[in-house]
């Protein structure tokens, strides 16, 4: 039994905690979310590079939202999302404990939002090299090529909403796509409606996206839709020096303003 | 129109619009194509898909009786996208109608029996079809009693027909409104439908009860019928669930393995009790 499993076992045996949300080994070497309620199942827990899924999405799930004896095993994406969810009052201080990991693999217990915020400050915020390269590749294209690129990508979207469902920040009980008076976005999945859907999704994540890339990872058709939310996240940083998932204050880029905000396109 | 396309609606002209209660309207619809009218027939209890081009389709029952030929009627409350669009229409507009779908009230089996209709609120329309059907074949049945309740006096639908039934010597009509919903000149009962039913203490012998109303009314009405001695197979109701197709394909309306669109919408209490609690 490794540290994490031992820790989980202790927590469950202590009776102070009743549920551990973490990762287990899934099909074909993939990791997947798991819900451990019994100490004897603690050995299912894993934590390695394969555990890159953002599982903050489960924290406000109807079935466990009000369970105050829960623990979440958090990778750095999940940690940032928790901070952002805290800023938006979707999760509440003291409702859960976080098990995070130090560089050397040591388990860190984080009990309050302040502690989480402090820990998150030590993490790297920004895109990975590979992600940055993908962004650059698209930004370097001509306008026409960019349009052609996205037109091709959007034409493949089947509107399964896996991107929305897997995003911790997409917690609205009724999404704009589900509003039908008026019907903002077409229900059938044609390119035009798909484009509108993905633009809308990105816009609604402006200043809130923690660049975990979970939307792109979730897409069964592997559309690089995470780049859209990365774009709004990078712009929020560049224009407003706002990085989502760093502060538990509700001050995301589009929720506040400064009179001195500077642009160069308004006549 | 000859078509193999089961999704293609009949074109219907709105012949008459009547406002029955706040936000509730009844349309009388006539077939635009005489061939469609000639080929069309339905039985009481069935439903259809009504559509406004550019907006979509919505499911509700046919509220008129099959004994009244030449038109169909539907009653709806302005609630969602389609019913809002429908209620914006006026006489002379064209809408689409697909149907009839679903099963029927077994009125042939009810010959020689007393009938007790119990309806609440906007659930009178599905019942109205069968009430008129039975009244048009009045000699087939013994006593006919109608208990109808709504939130307030204004919410009672088909007010002129209620008056008509009230005046008929061969129908016993009891109307009731929820406490607080009465007006100063209200002469009917005041109280919830199950309470009034309890007070009426209907005789179960040789009687069929047809119940239709909001879930909460249904929930409290069944035990009272049971108390009065109604057997499960003597009690009928009609269910509704969200539907898109109307013929067992779109996958929405099933309650367990029972498809409301194909096996229903009419169910006896006996059938209902065998269905899982998923409606």
């Amino acid at each position: 039994m490794n540290n994490l499993q031992q820790k989980a076992q202790q927590l469950l045996e202590s009776g102070n905690y009743g549920l551990i949300v973490g990762y287990e080994k899934g099909t074909s070497g993939k990791a997947r979310p798991v819900f451990i309620r019994k100490a004897e199942h603690a050995s299912k827990l894993i934590f390695d590079e394969s555990c890159d899924q953002n599982i903050a999405v489960y924290l406000y799930r109807q079935e466990i939202k009000h369970d105050k004896k829960k623990v979440i095993v958090a990778n750095h994406h999940t940690l940032k999302s928790i901070v952002e969810l805290a800023a938006e009052n979707q999760v509440f201080d003291g409702d859960f404990m976080v098990l995070a990991f130090a560089e050397n693999g040591d388990i860190i217990e984080l009990n309050t939002f302040k502690e989480i915020e402090k820990h998150v400050a030590t993490l790297y915020h920004g895109l990975t090299e590979a992600e940055a390269a993908m962004m650059k590749k698209i930004e370097d294209m001509s306008l026409e090529d960019r349009w052609a690129f996205w037109e091709n990508e959007f034409s493949k979207c089947i509107k399964c909403y896996a991107c929305r469902a897997s995003c911790p920040m997409c917690y609205c009980p009724t999404c704009t796509v589900e509003i039908n008076q008026p019907q903002w976005i077409s229900v059938p999945s044609h390119t035009l409606g798909n484009l509108e859907w993905h633009v809308m999704r990105a816009m609604h994540l402006a200043g809130r996206c923690v660049t975990c890339g979970q939307c792109g990872k979730a897409c069964p058709l592997e559309l690089p839709i995470q780049l859209l939310t990365y774009k709004v996240a990078l712009d929020s940083k560049q224009f407003f020096d706002s990085v989502a998932g760093t502060s538990i204050c509700a001050d995301n880029a589009l929720a506040i303003y400064k009179p001195e905000d500077h642009e160069n396109f308004i006549r | 129109m000859e078509t193999q396309n089961i999704y293609l609606p009949y074109l219907m002209q709105i012949d008459k619009v009547s406002e029955d209660a706040p936000f509730v309207k009844t349309f009388r619809l006539k077939f635009i194509n005489p061939e469609d009218e000639a080929n069309f027939s339905f039985q009481t209890g069935q439903f259809g898909e009504y559509s406004v081009a550019g907006v979509g389709e919505s499911t509700f029952c046919i509220a008129s009786s099959p004994t009244r030929k030449g038109y169909i009627e539907c009653t709806f409350r302005k609630a969602g996208r389609v019913t809002t669009a429908l209620s914006d229409l006026e006489e002379g507009n064209t809408i689409g109608f697909r149907g009839p779908y679903g099963n029927v009230f077994p009125i042939d089996e009810w010959k020689g029996k007393n009938l007790l209709f119990i309806a609440g609120g906007i659930a009178l329309p599905p019942m109205r079809s069968v009430i008129w059907n039975c009244l048009d074949l009045r000699e087939n049945f013994k006593d006919i009693t109608i208990l109808y309740g709504a939130k307030s006096v204004a919410d009672l639908v088909y007010k002129h027909e209620l008056r008509e039934w009230d005046e008929r010597p061969d129908v016993k009509l009891v109307t009731t409104v929820d406490p607080g919903g009465e007006t100063h000149d209200w002469t009917g009962e005041v109280g919830f439908v199950p309470t009034i039913l309890d007070k009426m203490a209907p005789k179960a012998e040789n009687t069929i009860a047809i119940v239709c109303g909001p879930p909460i009314m249904i929930k409290y009405t069944f035990p009272i019928l049971e108390k009065c001695g109604f057997a499960d197979e003597m009690v009928y109701t009609t269910l509704e669930n969200r539907m898109k197709c109307g013929f067992g394909k779109c996958g929405r309306c099933n309650v367990g393995k029972t498809y409301v669109c194909k096996d229903g919408p009419v169910f006896s209490l006996k059938q209902l009790k065998q269905m899982p609690d998923e409606y």
Binding site: G26, S186 | G54
Partner: protein, 337 residues
């Protein structure tokens, strides 16, 4: 079953000729990062480097958006333009895995349940399905647990099995298949008697779907069981959209000005608004109930009402699932619990 042989060169000629004769040829194509069924205009676009495609072959008969008819509004008048059945092309669908091919059987049983959906049936009638046996499988495959096999002929009009020399064993399954072979008889040669079985992928049968069928009805009321099963499920529609047998759909109007069309498009029982009434009441209001509907539909309702299983064991839903809801595992847990 009649067997023939098709050399790899003849296979190329066959496809090239079909395209030349204006058949719509749909085949697995590598596009960007994925392999999916697409219309091809040359043989070289085809790939055979897949276990299964991402989306299922159902799109040929049940596309994700299907225009049902057109309408035009002018003042109070409404006119409708019926579906143009002549517009459905003669198609040849190639590279279909046996699981996918069998999926059409389940799909047809839904679309032909009393009311015949002529749009679907015409599309399928005008499609000749050339299956391709599986020579490899992965951890997600479980066809052998769901009454299928990597070399099953059921559902295909012709089944090809690739031999080690690159040529194909041809099994002629239906009259439609026989007609296609007859139309191009010069390309097919006599069967060499190769052992098909040895060429097929090995898929272990970890459970029997009959056990799921026998057990699942008794689990309906066990709410805790379904809640636990669906804890991980995040409620997207990926599983249903890639499934070869999922037929649930939505009907929507699309219009520009006074003109438009009614469209049938895919929908999923996993989405929370699927059964929501206008009143706000939702018969399946939590994910456990929705997940139960998905499994019950496949393993109880369809067997009971339509005499067919709603799962062919292709494993697509599990591959597409962002949270690895592996349907085979869930089936096994139904049997075990």
């Amino acid at each position: 079953m009649e067997r023939k042989l098709l050399t790899k060169d003849s296979y190329r000629s066959l496809i090239t000729k079909l395209i030349g004769q204006n058949y719509q040829v749909v085949a697995p194509v590598k596009k960007d990062t994925m392999i999916d069924f697409l219309k091809i205009s040359s043989f070289d676009e085809i790939t055979e480097d897949y276990i299964v495609t991402v989306s299922s072959a159902k799109t040929v008969a049940f596309p994700r958006n299907e225009k049902l008819f057109d309408y035009e509004k002018q003042n109070k008048k409404l006119t409708q333009q019926d579906y143009d059945f002549d517009s459905i092309p003669q198609s040849v669908l190639i590279g279909v895995r046996p699981c996918d091919a069998f999926g059409f059987h389940s799909l047809s049983s839904i679309f032909c349940w009393d009311s015949i959906d002529k749009i679907y049936t015409t599309r399928l009638e005008r499609t000749t399905i050339i299956g391709l046996s599986c020579n490899k499988a992965d951890d997600y495959c479980f066809c052998t647990s769901a009454k299928g096999s990597p070399g099953s002929t059921a559902g295909s009009d012709i089944l090809l099995t690739k031999m080690t020399d690159g040529n194909y064993i041809v099994e002629i399954v239906t009259e439609k298949g026989a007609k296609l072979v007859a139309d191009f008889s010069d390309l097919f040669t006599a069967d060499g008697g190769a052992d098909k079985e040895s060429l097929l992928a090995k898929v272990a049968a970890n459970f029997s779907v009959d056990d799921v069928l026998a057990k699942i009805n008794s689990k309906f009321e066990d709410e805790a069981f379904w809640t636990e099963q669906a804890m991980r499920c995040i409620g997207c529609g990926a599983c249903a959209y890639v499934c070869p047998t999922c037929a649930c759909f939505d009907i929507q109007d699309e219009s520009h000005g006074g003109k438009g069309h009614r469209v049938r498009c895919w929908d999923s029982c996993g989405l929370s608004l699927f059964t929501l009434h206008t009143s706000g009441h939702n018969p399946r209001e939590n994910q456990g109930q929705r997940w139960r509907q998905r499994l019950m539909h496949k393993f109880s309702y369809m067997p009971d009402r339509l005499n067919t299983i709603g799962c062919v064991g292709c494993g697509r839903c599990s591959r597409a699932c962002p949270v690895d809801m592996n349907i085979a595992e869930h089936c096994m847990s139904i049997i075990e619990n």
